[in-house]
């Protein structure tokens, strides 16, 4: 008699614990990548590492033995990124999946259940700044140097400065641009700068700096 009682008791316990535990099911896919290539590195983590599941060779998964509650379900692999999903399980075993929102925790944006999780490639690396001609030319410092140089070199060639009419016109336009006569003229400044640099270039010349002087004689 006692044995029988024990048996019934055990049976009761087992059915109860089965009733309390549920299964979270779903499927993870990475578009364009065969599942075989990445399932061996993947795991399904439910609420951190509280419950762990693994992926089948077709990318589907089921995490067994979970009591009712609300859980964040996440598929983790080193190479792909999967969005986590919150799964709510009622005490009767009704399932609901929704977007994870840690700020508004009660907000419900439904997600399909059984879960459908799409992965995307994950990039961990910073891009190196590569050196290219375009980068070099587009550099503001270089632009500042090159454009005035072009103007200085090309402008006198394009515009015939010997033509008196043109000169007059230019002077007029310069005056319009430069209403303040006290400010130094741009071209003047440029020439000054140019001659200055020439001078310094001479001074900064190496030991052969005496040679021009000799030739001038």
């Amino acid at each position: 008699n006692l044995h029988k009682k024990n048996l019934i008791y055990y049976a009761g316990v087992s059915s109860q614990s089965n009733g309390d535990r549920f299964k979270i099911e779903g499927r993870a896919i990475v578009p364009g990548v065969k599942t075989q290539d990445w399932v061996s590195t993947a795991r399904v983590l439910v609420e951190g590492e509280e419950y762990v599941g693994f992926l089948r060779t077709d990318g589907s998964f089921a995490v067994n033995d979970i009591p009712s509650g609300s859980y964040v379900v996440e598929v983790v692999t080193p190479t792909f990124r999967f969005e986590p999903v919150r799964v709510d399980i009622t005490s009767k075993g009704k399932m609901r999946a929704r977007l994870v929102n840690f700020i508004k925790t009660s907000e419900v944006i439904r997600q399909p259940y059984p879960l459908q999780i799409r992965g995307s490639p994950q990039s961990y690396f910073m891009r190196r700044e590569t050196w290219g001609w375009t980068d070099f030319l587009m550099n503001p410092m270089v632009m500042m140097m090159v454009l005035p140089l072009l103007i200085i070199v090309l402008l006198p060639k394009v515009v015939n400065t010997n033509d008196p009419e043109m000169r007059k016109e230019m002077e007029q336009s310069m005056n319009m641009l430069n209403p303040n006569p006290e400010l130094p003229d741009v071209s003047e400044l440029m020439t000054k700068l140019f001659s200055g640099s020439k001078g310094s270039g001479k001074a900064g010349g190496s030991s052969k700096g005496t040679r021009p002087a000799v030739k001038r004689r």
Partner: protein, 977 residues
């Protein structure tokens, strides 16, 4: 609002560039080693001829496939820790591996080639007993799982249950084993201890009980340890009290026949419990009729069952380990026998005759600092000439796996002890001989000007010589192809590099022995010490030590660094039994791993606390103070010099004790006679909350700036109390509504409570980092079901009370406390902060995540001064506007795709470069890298474009040359005009 977003974006961009890895840096200064733990089951994959896999299931709940050629992992699956992920059985059939997990809770089948799951099913509750493959007509189709009260049969292809049957009389009979010989029957073997064996025979097809009988066996208590099925269904048992073999034919079910071992001429070693080793190469067929009987720790006999008669084929004495292996139709027995003190010989014998096979000797050299061989796994294969060749995996007591190939060649070794690192330290490498000579010059007393000059010249010459030889080596290596350049790391060529980036990692691993531990009242375990070169990950030395208490706590301390040449560096490991408090010291040289000749003091009293003082003895060893349960203090080393120094310093030496069971924190002062005096006590009522962790600051931490410059150019001074302790408590009430986490900041000298904070509706586990003037902690919010971070920062205010020195006894003003909390969108495993030489570099938090990533989160994000409304001043200060959720960016993972399973700890150490912090993360795997929290500001970046800068320089040089020439010509022309 738009402005705010813009600000935010700006900061994100600003911070995004920090702490990231570039793709070309992969493997340049980082390495990872993956481990699986101590192997419990291992099977060679034989279903494909050329397979290079060995499938292992380990005590760490890991299931993995190893490459037999290299020892690396093909794939690995890490289950939950603890009993829920425990692997009870591993059965391999073709490309399918069936696992019983979690005391018979789950049945899983894995595809071995890909490493993916075939199926997983939930089994009924009940404690797991045994499992076996069941075949019919040479075809294995099912797996049988035996539990305490039921037996179930499942299809191998999809896991579906074919049938489940209750076991008869399961209240009285202890069913322990299941066996199938491939004839359509499943035998369940049970025992009523000291009474009889019960056998139930089920039909494979429908689960019907075909036969049920019991046989008298008063001597038997455990089938699994003393019985085996041999040959055509002969249950063979060995009994140590009557010293006999018992045999029962399961088909004819006659009386059990007793066969005293004496009649076979065999003798059991006194006090030894003999065991049987049998083999069933194919689950669809009967086991072999040959089996091993172990008679002593080093004594085996190969027996054969021949027409109901036992024949001794061969006696192996001494023999340490035996194993069967099958290839094709041939089965061989491998026997390992000791050769001399340091080597073992492995030989192959034909199983059906016991004859030694020619040319099958293999020498296994044992590591003198390792353990004894424990398990042997053998893979046999047929060679071209039809003879049998083999490979073997030997697992030793120190959890080392060694793979041997035939003429005694070690293909690879795996130090699985490293999957259980308990604590570690990084020690600077010593200088090379020449550098040391140069250093030694300064230590000596001056002996005349001339000789000093000569000495200096000669040492400079030696340096020059070393440099030239180094250059020559570089040049020589550069000509060779890259793969040929040897990267051997030995103790001889280990030396400190110019930036002190390469260090010696001293790791302490615990080797737990769970087997039979419960039976003994006092049970011992062991540990293994490793010295690993941090640059390459090569194990430079290892040392296995056994006979330590099974639940020991370890504390590793560096007493003397390598800076005190010619004194050798010295590390001390304190091993303390958690139950009794008794401790022992192990003193060793961290560079060579040798045990020091210094004999550590015997510690007869339980130890409560240990502290490493900044005091040094005349040999530059830091003084270790040990406080015993009588509150007496002993010092190590305890020379006269040290005791004198201690007496002088006693009035300024304070220490604290924590008794978490009684919730008591107490502070003590040292008296000059080395007794102690209680000066304060704080009791945290243990019935409401318990102390989870107590964290002080790291002694080697430097803080560079005393304060922070505000937007209005005033200075907010930090409260930098080196004696501050952060105490974390958790409520004993675990109810969702009433649980809480508390934090207490106490001055360890005076016992003054500086600050107290409580987070309601939260629970642990709490992770804490305490550094500078801040404490960061992480907990679980039960209300919102999310992880949250909280940061507390302490400031003195706009004025410093005493700017020259900090004294806990003289700080009248309480510090200003700022606190802010954030949401963290992931669970975390561990938390640590970066550490640099001088503390100038900004700090990052290193967060170990369950996904295996290590996130480097700038401390800037955890700043309680982050404003909700952006003002001109906060912008000036570079404060990020407050946002409730902390961001996780994939560029912040310092270990990119090199994930680390089950991160338990992160160790940070400063390097010689201020910008660089060395990081070691350990758990199941070990990962070493460097981080640059504020980028590499003190060295040229490794992508520095030498080509560009030199080509620009050359171009400019030639341009000046040419233009000069042109100018000359022009001048000349003008002069001619």
């Amino acid at each position: 609002m738009a402005k705010l977003i813009l600000q935010w974006l700006k900061f994100v961009v600003l911070c995004g560039t920090v702490g990231a890895v570039f793709e070309d840096q992969v493997g340049k200064f980082d390495w990872r080693q993956q481990y699986v733990g101590k192997v419990r089951f291992a099977h060679f994959d034989t279903h494909v001829q050329s397979s290079k896999k060995v499938v292992v299931a380990t005590e760490k709940n890991v299931f993995a496939a190893l490459n037999t050629r290299t020892g690396e992992l093909f794939w690995r699956h890490v289950d939950k820790t603890g009993s829920e992920g425990n692997i009870d059985a591993l059965l391999l059939q073709g490309a399918d591996a069936v696992l019983v997990v979690g005391n018979g809770r789950l049945l899983r089948s894995w595809e071995v080639n890909i490493g993916g799951l075939n199926w997983e099913i939930l089994l009924d509750s009940g404690s797991f007993q045994s499992a076996c493959l069941v075949g019919q007509q040479d075809n294995v189709k099912y797996v049988a799982v035996l539990k305490k009260t039921v037996i179930s049969l499942h299809y191998l292809s999809n896991g579906h249950q074919k049938w489940i049957e209750n076991l008869p009389d399961s209240e009285t009979v202890d069913y322990q084993a299941v066996y199938s010989g491939g004839n359509g029957e499943v035998y369940v073997l049970g025992v009523v201890p000291h009474s009889h064996i019960a056998v139930v025979v089920y039909s494979v097809d429908d689960g019907e009980i075909l036969k049920q009988f019991s046989v008298e066996a008063a001597w038997l208590s455990n089938i699994q340890t003393s019985c085996a099925v041999v040959g055509k269904g002969m249950l063979t048992c060995v009994d140590s009290t009557t010293l006999s073999l018992y045999m029962l034919d399961l088909h004819t079910q006659l009386q059990m026949t007793q066969l005293p071992l004496q009649t076979l001429g065999l003798e059991v070693d006194p006090g030894f419990h003999p065991t049987l080793v049998s083999t069933q190469p194919n689950a669809a067929r009967q086991p072999l009729s040959e089996f091993f009987l172990q008679l002593g720790p080093e004594h085996y006999v190969l027996l054969q069952l021949n027409n109901g008669q036992i024949v001794t084929l061969r006696d192996f004495k001494p023999a340490m380990l035996v194993s069967f292996a099958t290839t094709g139709e041939k089965t061989v027995a491998a026997v390992m026998s000791p050769k001399n003190k340091t080597a073992c010989g492995l030989n192959l014998f034909s199983a059906d005759t016991g004859r030694r096979l020619l040319d099958t000797t293999l020498i296994f050299n044992m590591d003198p600092y390792g353990g004894k061989p424990e398990t042997l796994y053998v893979q046999a294969f047929l060679k071209k000439d039809d003879s049998v060749g083999y490979r073997a995996i030997v697992q030793t007591e120190d959890h080392t796996l060694t793979f041997l190939q035939q003429p005694g060649r070690v293909m690879w070794t795996r130090e699985e002890a490293l999957s259980d690192v308990v604590t570690m330290e990084m020690v600077d490498l010593p200088l090379t001989g020449t550098q040391a000579e140069l250093e030694g010059e300064f230590g000596k007393k001056a002996d005349g000007l001339m000789s000093m000059v000569l000495k200096r010249l000669s040492s400079q010459f030696i340096l020059l010589q070393a440099w030239v030889s180094h250059l020559w080596k570089l040049f020589y290596d550069a000509r060779k192809p890259r793969s040929q350049v040897k990267n051997d790391v030995t103790i001889e060529n280990l030396s400190r590099d110019e930036f002190n980036l390469q260090k010696m990692m001293v790791m302490v691993t615990a080797i737990r022995k769970p087997v039979n531990c419960r039976l003994h009242s006092f049970c011992f375990s062991s540990f293994k010490l490793f010295g690993i070169d941090s640059k390459t990950g090569t194990i430079v030395w290892k040392h296995y030590l056994d006979n330590i208490p099974s639940n020991a706590a370890f504390k590793l301390m560096v007493q003397r660094t390598t800076a005190h040449f010619p004194h050798p560096p010295q590390c001390t490991l304190l091993i303390k039994d958690k139950d009794t408090g008794l401790a022992t010291l192990h003193v060793f040289n961290p560079i060579f791993g040798k045990k020091s000749h210094i004999t550590p003091p015997a510690l007869p009293q339980p130890i409560l606390q240990s502290l490493l003082l900044p005091l040094m003895d005349q040999d530059y060893a830091k003084v270790l103070l040990l406080v015993d349960d009588q509150y007496k203090v002993s010092a190590f080393p305890s020379t006269k010099n040290v005791l004198q120094q201690l007496q002088e310093m006693a009035s300024s030496i304070f220490f604290y004790l924590v008794d978490s069971s009684q919730g008591r924190l107490s502070g003590y002062r040292l008296r000059t006679d080395l007794s102690t005096e209680l000066i304060w006590e704080v009791v945290i009522p243990p019935e409401i909350q318990r102390i989870v962790s107590v964290k002080g600051k790291r002694p080697n931490e430097h803080v560079h700036s005393q304060g922070r410059v505000m937007g209005d150019r005033s200075v907010l001074y930090k409260y930098l109390n080196p004696n501050l302790l952060a105490i974390v408590t958790e409520s004993t009430d675990s109810h969702q509504e009433r649980s809480f986490v508390g934090i207490l900041l106490i001055d360890g000298v005076t016992g003054r409570i500086i600050h107290e904070a409580v987070q309601r509706k939260t629970k642990g586990p709490v992770h804490v980092v305490h550094s500078e003037n801040w404490v960061v902690y992480e907990y679980w919010s039960t209300k919102s079901r999310r992880n949250e971070f909280s940061v507390i920062e302490l400031y003195e205010g706009m004025e410093l009370y005493n700017s020259t020195v900090f004294s806990s006894l003289d700080r009248p003003h309480a510090p200003q406390v700022l606190q802010q909390s954030y949401i963290f969108p992931s669970a975390i495993s561990t938390l640590e902060a970066t550490l640099t030489e001088k503390g100038i570099t900004s700090r990052h938090l290193l967060i170990g995540l369950p996904s295996g990533g290590i996130l480097s989160l700038p401390k800037m994000f955890l700043d309680p001064r982050r404003p909700e409304i952006v003002t001109e001043q906060s912008r000036e200060e570079n404060l990020i506007p407050y946002a409730p959720e902390l961001p996780i960016r994939t560029e912040w993972y310092i270990n990119y795709n090199q994930t680390i399973s089950r991160v338990r700890g992160i160790y940070t150490a400063p390097s010689g470069l201020e910008s660089t912090c060395l990081v070691v993360a350990y758990g199941l795997d070990i990962y070493q890298t460097r981080v640059y929290p504020s980028k590499q500001f003190d060295v040229l970046k490794d992508d520095y474009d030498y080509m560009l800068i030199s080509s620009v320089l050359f171009a400019l040089f030639f341009a000046t040359m040419i233009s000069k020439r042109l100018a000359e010509v022009k001048l000349l022309n003008r002069a001619w005009r």
